[in-house]
Symmetry: D3
Subunit: 131 residues, 6 copies
């Protein structure tokens, strides 16, 4: 249960509906996931979030699957239940294999461990690493 | 200043020195960064951490640069100063371009933002995302 | 399901009951939410937590609604499911409008994003910002 | 030391300079803080971040000082050193008194504590709190 | 619902089954909790994680219950729902009393609060604390 | 550099001085660490924080060293630089050996890793773990 009701297409304002339409067109499908239905309570925030997401996750110097793996990594470290689910599903849709998923988990686990060790030890940054 | 002194080669135990030797051999260089010099106080932890890291970050289904980008993403979300520096340097050494760095930052920023929104809204996971 | 059973009024100790009574009196209602029923297993911790909360969230230099918005912001960044729900409800009860809720979310999202960027870039603090 | 060099006005690209100009015009002063000088390496990210920040933190349903207090709260929970400094300075510039600062800290401390307790106890969300 | 199906003994690979067998032998019981059934999708990660856990949580300079209390503390601060449940149950199985549980919660709450205050105030580390 | 000036004994208010006196008396020494000198700007917050800390960290069902280890664990997971330093120093003063420190780090590292894995996999809580 969200902290706001999830809006159906009928309940959404025209501004929010326009964003739903663009999501459908961009993704080539009818499905609107709950995140956008919750954000639809604030059409301006919905629009700003979707437009930035579309731009950031689109084609660029990093391929779309790599971007999803990075997204999962951040979501896990931030302990976001919804995001872990939605971006794991998105990575699979973009071709993530089981073996790649396993390696992603191993890297996330390793980083989490050495992050904690470096913080516990308060290791000073080597001069060699400074830009 | 770390919470433990950083051990020089001379101060490290033979067990810790053996790990330093393997780091040098694996990386093909003489430099041992401060993280390992701090961990050297506990040779068993040093050895377990290094051996796992070598295995996880080595060749596999994901290429080494992609693994570094994921590592940076986790380190940033965990607010690890040392790790942000050391893995950004490592990513550059593995070929990360300025443009890729910029896209990495954009994805990390986007994920951090939608993680917060999804958590604030407590969006329920769509059935479509469940394994 | 909590990691401890939630105590009913009958199951709570006299010390815990006294805190329940003060919660009811302070809030002007009969409802005791689950957080306090879980904490009731340790009456001393229950009492210390409630008394401090009552003092901190009471009238002062910041108005009660502003305090709730700050509480939500911290709870979201700490990924506390219970707290996101309970303090969003509390903010509404203290008058938070839908438009204010939307702006709160926008600020939380923005801060989460620039927090990540500043950490990823390890931006040094400007002299002008130092006290 | 940042993970990228901080760009001076002369080193910044014309696109980045245009953002610096807008920051100066909006804030009514010449000072460009380090966050923007680091972001200037990616002019598109700089522009997107600044334009969104300007929009989110501008006048609205919540007053500018309240928005800064919320920003500080998120930044502290995310352990962002740069952001804690820069937004505390910004809040003072927008009129935060010492007494308000003290209350902000008390609320942040209280929320951090009950976030941890609710998570440790895994308290189930009361039906009364669900939207 | 996990992001991967939980594997039964029959569905697990021989490599994963061998780990399940060692978990049963080590713990002296038939129960395999969901964490391992989810990890079983990547037998190498399952094996590495279990073997390291067995080593780290075994007898040493800190007694097993103390190690569980530390594990709970980290899990709570990282907002890990599964881990809060599983390690609270493990601590009880290792003899944690209700009074010890209450004190653990009080310390976690206190640390969370002063962590936030120290970060908000950006308190410089005293020379006396440096190694 | 803190976000507030650190107050000397002379600059502190009588209320803050009284807390300093109690810290000195309780700890049996003259040293007041920076955390309290920063908090002294808000004597009421200083007093409430110190009195609660004294109570929580005092003798009880858990021994003082165990409480410090738990405190370090939370501080590391929350990425609090000041707290990692101050509580590692406090643990040493209460008798933490190098071997215990190494085991503490190993447990914190292990927990950080499995926290991330459980969150990435969104493992459902076993019925057996529910209170």
């Amino acid at each position: 249960m969200a902290t706001v009701p999830l809006l159906t297409d009928e309940e959404a304002s025209p501004e929010a509906r326009a964003v739903f339409d663009d999501i459908r067109k961009t993704r080539g499908g009818d499905f609107i996931n709950n995140f956008w239905r919750a954000l639809a309570h604030d059409p301006a925030l919905l629009k700003a979030t979707w437009e930035r997401l579309k731009q950031v996750m689109g084609p660029g110097e990093l391929d779309p699957l790599t971007k999803e793996l990075i997204y999962i990594a951040v979501s896990v470290a931030n302990s976001c239940e919804y995001c872990a689910h939605s971006h794991t599903a998105a990575a699979r849709a973009k071709g993530m294999s089981d073996a790649q998923h396993g390696e992603l988990l191993a890297v996330i686990g390793m980083a989490s461990q050495t992050n904690a060790l470096a913080t516990a030890l308060q290791v000073p940054v080597d001069d060699a690493f400074k830009a």
